[in-house]
């Protein structure tokens, strides 16, 4: 973990504070979420108070402070997906996986996230599990997808 941050930081000049968001993005990309240690390190490097960094990071939806689950489920909740029943699907997923949107299950098997719009409205409703997209999800598809990821982590 430590090395990742060490590796990323030298690519940015400490005097330039505009590097903060790209640094956070890179760190998150590498380690999946932002750890306390990483934030402290970045703060020291850029000479910024840690609370300021949390202030920025918490403002943007992209940043996570908790590790994502083994299966990271993203559900598109754009307008078209909403029209095609994304809210019902969201409720169903929350019920089945027993987690709320934006959180990770305690055993780190699943995490659930709502994304604003993936820009594939013709394929609504869209579901994404890790790197796989599921277009035009039907209730049966949903049951199958959930069953599969549950079985795979047991």
């Amino acid at each position: 973990m430590e090395e990742i941050v060490e590796k990323i930081l030298p690519r940015y000049t400490p005097e330039k504070k505009d590097g903060l968001i790209p640094i956070l993005q890179e760190v998150q990309k590498e380690q999946g979420y932002l750890t306390e240690e990483a934030v402290e390190k970045i703060g020291k490097y850029l000479n910024l108070p840690v609370n300021k960094i949390y202030g920025v990071a918490a403002f943007y939806d992209q940043f996570r402070f908790r590790r994502a689950g083994h299966f990271h489920v993203q559900i598109c909740h754009g307008t078209t997906c909403h029209l095609f029943g994304a809210s019902t699907y969201l409720n169903e997923i929350e019920k089945q996986l027993k987690i709320k949107a934006g959180s990770t299950s305690r055993d780190r098997r699943f995490s659930l996230e709502i994304v604003n719009c993936l820009g594939a409205c013709n394929q609504a409703p869209v579901l994404k599990v890790n790197d796989t997209y599921y277009p035009m999800v039907t209730p049966d598809d949903l049951t199958r997808i959930i069953r599969t990821i549950k079985e795979k982590t047991e």
Binding site: I21, L118, N122
Partner: protein, 649 residues
């Protein structure tokens, strides 16, 4: 002088094509160019549409299947990844071009169909309903009984200028763009025009910002041009977070170099040496394509030091937006680029005077900048011939919702909304009636069918309260609940409100609460409560107006648009929710009342046991009955019935 046939592609394209002012080539150059444009081919070419929409529909699997097919049959073909052609509902699209034959396009070419489709093309035994159409190419033999792509209803009314290469060539190849006259405008501008003249051309063309406000682009550039500053910035805004809109993504993924060329010309015109392209982070594909395109442009010397020997330097940085809707607003975007929370600032000072790091900054939308190269190439008068009196040029819209065709389109300003719905989008898929058209996403309005005669244009749309810049175009049918959709938009805006100013932060929350109150089943049915709920709606209007008048930025000012416009046209639906506790579309879950179909119920007792309110009565093996006054509409019985005997109204 080396002959055009022996030069490497890069040198050939720069020296012979880009730097040729006349555009008239000798035979060997023309031949080589036709080869690079894939107009004259010796071996078959297969194209797979791999925009984000295609990838989600399974284009990656299609691509792999094509690769497998080529390997297995030892075919001598070229395989090219192209962008989306605009008709997203036909994704994944697979094109085949045989030597001497017109290029043919297959629709919905999923993995398992690939083999049959390729065989049908190579054996010239096409099955008509698998084919989308064919592209007309001069000197090529047409396929019999296959329609031309540009004559399909979806494409026929379009005027493709920015999107002219969408789905045609590879967004990964700068050579493809150069072979079709790309970067010529840049060459012409940088070497022949002063920055002053470049601003003037855009001013004369009357190009207006496509990002929302519709501010004249040339005038904006002029302000920055006139500012004396050692450092100026140009920002290309591709932070398209509006749910249901994907024009920027479509433009970038179809023709990234056109956007980059626009950025370079704009930076030259205002005198900026640094430019940013700010792309939303969820658009992974766009980011990948732009990153690659920027590398190529740098390698070819179109970005960097001393561009074309003119002494003009430019550095372009690609930045990922971190997922905040409000960052589409220019001052918030600038704050985000500076590494701060994306909170808007009061204007003036405008960013053109004092923007990024306190320096003059121009923020232009992707579509605005993509218009620039063609204007520079053909002149401002050409641009003015397209469109209406006050809105020139074309506009890209993304079409989604319940229509037959969905995707993105480019139409000349002046077409009516109705023409888009019925002719281009092909009407409603299910054959139901059109209920409304939603333009502009959470900041937009609902357009009632009686208003669909309105022309697309900045002023004409403003008259009915819609911002044209946000090109999300969502077609709604009767199955849509307007109250629920307004609630969805408010929920989105409430979540995305940056929290700086009170009307927006608190007001959207209160509005959302009122709508939630309307769509929730009341605990008791006293008339007093109904009255209170109705008062909520009256307050809703007041509240919406206050938020509109007192918010700082566009997000807040337009936050009440969906509510106000739905109240204007669909007041009866709100009243139905309040007084009759009824949602005619059956979308608002809490308002459903369940009934048991006596003929289907076999009295298995499952629903009765599961009902948390004990609202179901009946004895075993006899049809059950739901006591309406006890039912809370939770839907547990509906889900647990194995015989579909429970229905709702």
């Amino acid at each position: 002088m080396p002959s055009p046939t022996t030069l490497p592609a890069k040198e050939f394209l720069i020296e012979k094509v880009l730097k040729s002012y006349s555009g008239i080539f000798d035979k060997s150059t023309a031949d080589r160019l036709a080869d690079l444009r894939r107009e004259k081919i010796v071996r078959p070419v297969i194209y797979v549409g791999m925009g984000s929409c295609g990838l989600i529909a399974g284009a990656a699997q299609t691509y792999a299947a094509v690769e497998r097919h080529i390997l297995e049959n030892k075919l001598e073909v070229d395989l090219v990844r192209v962008g989306c052609n605009g008709l997203c509902s036909a994704e994944p699209v697979l094109d085949v071009q045989l030597p001497g034959k017109a290029r043919i396009s297959f629709r919905n070419a999923t993995e398992e169909k690939v083999e049959d489709l390729l065989n049908s093309a190579f054996h010239r035994t096409l099955i008509e309903d698998t084919v989308l159409g064919q592209y007309k190419v001069s000197g090529h033999e047409d396929w019999p009984n296959i329609p031309y792509v540009d004559q399909l209803p979806f494409f026929a009314r379009q005027h493709r200028n920015i999107l002219r290469h969408a789905g045609i060539f590879s967004p990964y190849s700068i050579d493809d763009y150069l072979a079709r006259g790309g970067y010529k405008s840049l060459y012409k501008t940088v070497l022949n025009y002063t920055a002053d003249k470049a601003c003037e051309i855009i001013e004369l063309s009357e190009l207006r910002g496509r990002g929302g406000g519709g501010y004249p682009t040339g005038r904006k550039w002029r302000i920055a041009f006139n500012m004396g500053s050692d450092q100026k910035y140009l920002v290309c805004n591709a932070d398209e977070s509006d749910p249901g809109a994907f024009m920027d993504r479509a433009i970038i993924e179809a023709d990234p170099h056109r956007v980059i060329e626009g950025v370079i010309i704009a930076a030259y015109a205002i005198g900026a040496n640094n430019a940013y392209i700010y792309v939303r982070s969820d658009y992974e594909q766009s980011l990948k394509i732009l990153e690659n395109a920027l590398l190529q442009a740098r390698e070819y010397g179109f970005i960097g030091e001393n561009i074309f020997g003119s002494g003009f330097n430019l550095n372009i940085l690609l930045r990922q937006g971190a997922g905040a809707f409000v960052c589409g607003e220019e001052t918030a975007l600038i704050a985000s680029l500076e590494g701060r929370r994306g909170v808007p600032q009061a204007k003036p000072p405008y960013p053109a005077e004092k923007g990024l790091f306190g320096h003059p900054t121009i923020v232009n939308n992707v579509e605005t900048l993509a218009n620039v190269p063609a204007i520079m190439e053909n002149g401002p008068q050409w641009f003015k011939t397209i469109g209406t009196k006050e809105s020139k040029g074309t506009k890209v819209f993304s079409i989604a919702g319940k229509s037959l065709h969905t995707g993105f389109i480019e139409i000349p300003m002046g077409i009516t909304i109705n023409e888009i719905v019925t002719e281009i989008a092909g009407g409603i898929k299910s054959g139901k009636a059109l209920k409304a058209v939603q333009i502009g996403g959470p900041s937009g309005v609902f357009i009632y069918p009686s208003e669909t005669g309105t022309e697309i244009g900045f002023e004409s749309l403003k008259e009915i309260g819609a911002p044209v810049g946000l090109g999300g175009f969502i077609i709604l049918d009767e199955e849509t609940c307007m109250v629920s959709l307004s609630k969805y938009f408010l929920n989105f805006l409430q979540k995305e409100s940056c929290g700086k100013c009170i009307p927006c932060r608190e007001g959207t929350k209160r509005m959302l609460e009122i709508l939630e109150g309307i769509t929730r089943r009341p605990k008791e049915e006293s008339s007093h409560e109904t009255l209170e709920r109705f008062k909520g709606v009256v307050q809703l209007e007041n509240l919406a107006e206050v938020i509109r008048d007192t918010s700082l930025c566009g997000l807040g000012q337009n936050a009440s648009n969906p509510v106000l416009s739905s109240l204007k046209w669909f007041r009866d639906e709100y009243e139905e929710h309040i007084f009759d506790r009824k949602c005619r579309a059956g979308v608002c879950h809490d308002l459903r009342t369940f009934f048991i179909d006596v003929d289907l119920c076999n009295g298995c007792n499952v629903c009765q046991k599961r009902c948390p309110e004990n609202a179901i009565i009946g004895s075993l093996k006899m049809p059950h009955f739901i006591v309406e006054s006890k039912c809370t509409g939770c839907g547990i019985c509906f889900e647990s019935c194995k015989f579909s005997a429970i229905y709702f109204k």
